[in-house]
Amino acid sequence: MKLEGKVALVTGASRGIGREIALELAREGANVAVNYAGSEAKASEVAEEIRAMGREAILVQADVSQSVSVDAMIKQTTEAFGRIDILVNNAGITKDNLLMRMKEADWDDVININLKGVFLCTKAVTRQMMKQRSGRIINISSIVGVSGNAGQANYVAAKSGVIGLTKTTAKELATRGITVNAVAPGFITTDMTDKLTEEQKSEMLKQIPLARLGEPTDIAKTVLFLASEDSRYMTGQTLHIDGGMVM
């Protein structure tokens, strides 16, 4: 196992990609703090699955866009496990619309959760990781943060921001043994992408050289690599896990 005895905190871990990441890290030996914002029942299921593997799991409710909430989450996690080796900033939402139709509140909500949330969680966990002189921070961006996407100005701006934040945090923390990398998923089958119309989906399929949609496990395996010793000589990078959509 690659993560024996490690402690991971995964934000937005009750569903979709976050859920799969939490389970994958646990399969490789990590104890996991399962963060959720509202879906407590689903988050408990994830925690139960992790416990069934013989690992420890705790549930931590937090709105990642609120610093008070985030600080409490980090405190709860370090109190339960004594350390945090891996932070996966995965929590995210979409509120899509054409720029001309996008409400200011929809812009703010997406930026606050998808971008400010990464900043707050990273800032809060850094103290613990600096003391440990080691840590892995993995930010879930999106391939549209690289390519742009009509109808997602807020989401794209946030995900693009996450890539810049990843590079800067990587530079600031490198001397302390902390690596920071991002994953940019392409079109992955989750609740979030189920909202797209059939027409949108078939349009996207045409742009995917590997000619299929991705699955949450495709992202989880990449996160496992970035969380493990295998990736020790890389930091500040963004891995495109998108079936070849954007090269």
């Binding site: 103290r127 600096m130 003391k131 600031e172 001397t175 302390r176």
Partner: protein
């Protein structure tokens, strides 16, 4: 006062690998003791643990010399 200085000095010597004789009240962390910005952040974190107090980001930014740190801690104790 003397006791605070002693404990602060020990942390600085451990963290920055400087000689105890260099750690005077006037010594600037960055200019005299070779600390970079991140070292200062870490020092403040260690002082918080050592003296069991919270130092806000605004206050931490004002701590530039050994004397600043000692005075701040004495003021809070």
């Amino acid at each position: 006062m003397a006791e605070v200085l002693e404990r602060v000095t020990k942390i600085i010597v451990d963290r920055l690998g400087v000689d105890e004789a260099q750690v005077s009240l006037e010594a600037s962390f960055k200019d005299d003791l070779g600390a970079d910005s991140l070292d200062v952040v870490e020092l403040v974190m260690e002082l918080e643990d050592e003296f069991n107090m919270e130092i806000s980001d605004d206050d931490a930014e004002k701590i530039a010399t050994v004397g600043d740190a000692v005075n701040y801690i004495n003021g809070k104790m």
